[in-house]
Amino acid sequence: MHPHPPKWPDRFLSWYCNPELLEDLQGDLHELFYRTYDAGQQRKARWLFSWLVLRSLRWSVIKRQKQHKNSLYNMTWNNFKIAFRVLWRDKVNTSLNLLGLTIGITCFMLLGTHVRQELSYDHFHSKKDRIYRSWLKEDYGEGKVFFNSETPLRFEDLFETEFPAVETAVQYRTVSNLVGRGENRVNEQMAIISPEFFDVFDFTVAYGNQEQILPDQNSLILSERYAQKYFGNDNPIGRTLGIQLGSEIRDFTITAVFQNMPYESSIKFDMALSNAINKDIYGERTLNAWFNIAPETYVLLREGTSITAVEDKVQDVVMSYLGEQVTRGQYQIGFQPLTDIHLNPDIPQGIAPVSNPQYVLILGAIGLLVLIMACINYTTLSAGQSLKRTLEVGMRKVLGAGRGTLIQQYLSESILLAFAAMLIGTAIALLIIPTFNRLAGTEILFTFEWWHLLAYAVIGLLIGLIAGGYPALIISGFKIINVLKGSGRSVGGNSVRKGLIVVQFSGHRLPHQHHAHHEATIGLPTGKRPGLRLQGSTVCAIVARS
């Protein structure tokens, strides 16, 4: 049988290789194949051939598609070159347009980042779909309603024992205590959490005891930030910190250090104690009370179960415990998805901060409107400037340019400008984020991800198309005969431009509206009795309800 080099690599080579280089390269590879083959190394010959085909795959060998390069690529490149020259020639106008677009994009970026941040609250937890926060609503009729997302201490045990669908229930509560011994004592906010807390939520232990972060009631965990604050660069594991509890100062041993909690988290703390300490703080009565509330209680459902399984059973369980004190329906326990907490004002605020979803919506709308207004601004300005281009357009048309070509060319201008504005706007946004955070009381953090590049490209293209679409249409619509006669009246409908200006001005009113809206609510639901949280150097901070 006549030997032949492996078929597929051979075909692959013919496919990718530049035809001018193919013959001798293929010949050489074949020659080597036969040489090795005849030397008796059949297997090696095949293997070597395939390997060499792969090794030959270099940029300088690959087939080029010349056809493609000549038409579309060159035209586009040419368009952008001309666009750049036109923009450069009329510097005043260009910088005005650029300024407008840049401001629009900067606002859009800032507000967009803020809105995205608000919307992504708590979404980083991998078990977020199974985590719920419980609330308690006591409704005794005649307006005597007590509705809280802080719950009695006994709920953790109650959920775990009475509801099989609940995998784990954890407590979360914050208190302030004096930390340290001697003169330099600092009042610190700290959390009291269940030891299984880190199994439910996606917070990460940086170092220390990984299996059991809070082994007993004398354990303390710190964030990396606080480990740095209290121990500098020393290893804090095993060291102790004194914390004032009631009248005594107790030493707590640091068992683990966790990574700083992300901003988009409803649950945020820098130091935490185990809720095993509750035994030492509260009496038996408080621990088992049904009408004293302190911590937020979160439940993690088992996989494949739904919260309705728990909700359906709630009243039966409540009645089995409290049948003598309340009637059915008076003592309601409900559950709210973790990701719902940040933007749902219908459930009272517990420890986690709650934003008004309306503000988020309005801010998003303002961001978008500012951007659209910047586009309209560009449109009106360039439509007004279109007279300057009359001769150019006439000349091009005489030389045979079609309308489509002209539109393409003018769109290149606006797209080029849009991308320039995107770049500058992003840079400015990044620069002023700290100032913006200080002024607006937000905590925007910009983190780069690769998909942003794609989003940028799409947004830039869209802005370019929206802003430049109308001018491109009217400019390319000039009639040659008018141009040559010299009666260069701007062609575009005046009514369109006037309409756009009206939109712009009404847009300017919007921030005032938002301001008025902001003033109207003072942040507290009026007409309701506020609960007072008594805090200080004591741990016994129970929300008081008169």
């Binding site: 280089l21 293929q26 050489d28 090794r55 300088s60």
Partner: protein
Amino acid sequence: MKGDHIGELEELVLLTVGSLYEQAYAVKIMDEIKEHSNRVIDVTAIHSVLRRLDKKGLVSSEMGGATADRGGRRKRFFKLTKAGRAVLDDTMAMRMNLYKKLPKLTFSSI
């Protein structure tokens, strides 16, 4: 400027092309280099270097006649151009100049 400076492998290939005189095609060059310097160089690397030298104008090439082996495919034979020859001369001269400057004394110590 392009062509003013060539790399070590380029120089080796260029020299071999010159020395093979009219018989220089990639496989042959590879064999020749192996024979003289005991260096095993992938034939694809030789091709790549030859394309580079061609682009720099140091070698020229033309296709040979049809062959019976290698599936009837022709070979591409390379020749030194004047510029290629000049580059080789320059490099050799430069090396000799530097080599001559080695102090004689050091030979005893080496």
